[in-house]
């Protein structure tokens, strides 16, 4: 069992961070007219819904929102001990020419995002793909950078980040966990 080292974001902080991300996305794109939101399953899904809702409230619009399952695009699929469970991709609108805002909870090695980019290009050809994450914890293994970051959290590679969301885990918080072996 890993022990908690610090609570990085609490429920109120999460709300503020999501509000700020929504505003940054709007500012960068000069409004919401060409934006579509795509959350990466699992925890990118509720985050995407919340950010979309925030944008909709500010702009008085209805956004198109979809969800991406990257399982089939993973580079570690063959030879993994645990077969990952697929949760399905659910993008029922045209991506061509859109500004896609891709949303995930934690940016770490960058491999998930690499897989997500491959997955998106199989579905359509967006004008731009932008990346919004709640936490950037560093340690990139691929040349990938987020456009919108909730919080930068310097970590060591053996620590871990736990994102808990109301929808999936019952409460809103982000925890930094000690390494496994820590007494």
């Amino acid at each position: 069992m890993r022990k908690i080292k610090a609570k990085i974001i609490d429920a109120a902080g999460m709300e503020r961070t999501i509000t700020r991300l929504a505003h940054e996305i709007l500012e960068r794109n000069k409004g919401s007219h060409n934006i579509v939101i795509v959350g990466i399953r699992t925890r990118g899904e509720p985050l995407a819904k919340r950010i979309a809702k925030k944008i909709e409230t500010v702009e008085h619009v209805q956004l198109q929102i979809g969800f991406l399952d990257i399982t089939l695009y993973r580079d570690d699929l063959l030879g993994k001990l645990e077969q990952p469970q697929m949760k399905g991709t659910d993008i029922l609108f045209d991506l061509n020419g859109k500004d896609v805002v891709l949303i995930d909870d934690v940016l770490y090695t960058g491999r998930t995002i690499r897989a997500a980019l491959d997955g998106l290009t199989d579905i359509g050809r967006p004008r731009t793909i932008q990346l919004a994450v709640l936490i950037d914890r560093g340690h990139r293994q691929l040349p990938i950078k987020a456009d919108f970051v909730g919080k930068n959290v310097p970590t060591s590679a053996d620590e871990s980040i736990r994102v808990h969301l109301k929808e999936t885990d019952g409460e809103d918080e982000v925890l930094l966990m000690h390494p496994e072996s820590q007494p």
């Binding site: 399952d69 089939l72 063959l78 645990e82 077969q83 697929m86």
Partner: protein, 305 residues
């Protein structure tokens, strides 16, 4: 959670969790088939050999398409014009192909048990694409998938399989699979086409189609295999149609909505009338499409295991 089995030889004895996993995984692949680019990369670098020792169009094309859509390399092999006609045994043929470093074998054979034997002599995963009168597991899986997609559930439904149960591997795999998933299964056909003791598989037997129609949620109508000297087992095609053919009048008389399935190829106006085959309750073409998704799911689950 991976599949318990390394091979897919049949649905007899396959645990419920495995069937559930295949059906659920196929939902994701069904979505892939609606995309503009219908190809995904999970089996890149894997080589799959299709060994068809018996003629097949639909199943072979469906498997090939599923393999290619998963980015696998595909080797297809038909027994006519191959070393089999020079007298090579199944074991030697398969081991020679395997020596070329392949990962999976999909096999159709006229002898029941051929894929089971094959799985004992080679290292690769073996998928049964139909063995004699024994099993055709991917067909039954796609039938269950299609039924679940249409009705929304499987457990508690009542399915009747109509026609030539005796020669049908589709019937057998469906009975095993449906029973495991909690579906009530009946079979209906002339006594000459119903195997003796089939009740031991836990199915009800009917000889009059109009007795069972008012009770069922779905029909799986089997093809009358005209090429198999059907006249020996019932007097004429016309008589078969009169007694067992599924027609609009029959369905109206039954007074109940039911899903109409058929594994194809259909004999119009023999086992099924044209208006039923093309009618609103018919899911025959969805079965064909879902077949690709089911085969992608099976290949994916066995190939990344």
């Amino acid at each position: 959670m991976p599949l318990k089995s390394k091979h897919l030889l049949g649905l007899d004895g396959m645990p419920k969790e495995d069937i559930q996993l295949i059906l659920d995984t196929a939902v994701s692949f069904r979505e892939v088939l609606d995309r503009p680019i219908k190809k995904v990369p999970p089996l890149q670098g894997k080589t799959i050999t299709n060994m068809f020792f018996e003629s097949s169009t639909r199943t072979r094309l469906s498997f090939e398409l599923a393999e290619r859509r998963l980015s696998a390399d595909v080797l297809s092999f038909q027994s006519s014009g191959s070393s089999v006609s020079k007298g090579e045994t199944l074991k030697d043929t398969a081991r020679n192909i395997e020596a070329m470093k392949i990962d999976m074998v999909v096999m159709r054979h006229s002898a029941a048990g051929a894929p089971h034997y094959l799985s004992s002599v080679i290292e690769s995963a073996v998928i049964n694409a139909g063995d004699g009168g024994h099993e055709h597991p991917t067909q039954a899986l796609l039938d269950m998938y299609t039924l679940r997609e249409r009705v929304g559930k499987l457990a508690g439904l009542h399915v009747c399989i109509v026609g030539d149960i005796l020669h049908s591997r589709v019937a057998r795999s469906n009975i095993y699979g449906l029973k495991t998933m909690g579906v009530k299964v009946s079979v209906c056909g002339p006594a000459t086409l119903i195997p003796r003791d089939i009740e031991k598989l836990g199915v009800d037997v009917y000889h009059h189609i109009d007795d069972v129609l008012p009770k069922v949620d779905a029909l799986n109508i089997l093809r009358i295999q005209l090429e198999r000297d059907a006249g020996r087992l019932f007097p004429t095609i016309r008589e078969y149609h009169n007694y067992y053919g599924i027609t609009r009048q029959r369905l109206e008389k039954a007074g109940r909505e039911m899903v109409i399935m058929h594994p194809g190829p259909i004999n119009r106006d023999v086992e099924i009338s044209a208006d039923v085959a093309d009618g609103e309750s018919s899911v025959i073409l969805q079965q064909v499409l879902n077949g690709v998704a089911i085969r992608m799911a099976v290949l994916y689950l066995l190939g990344t295991r």
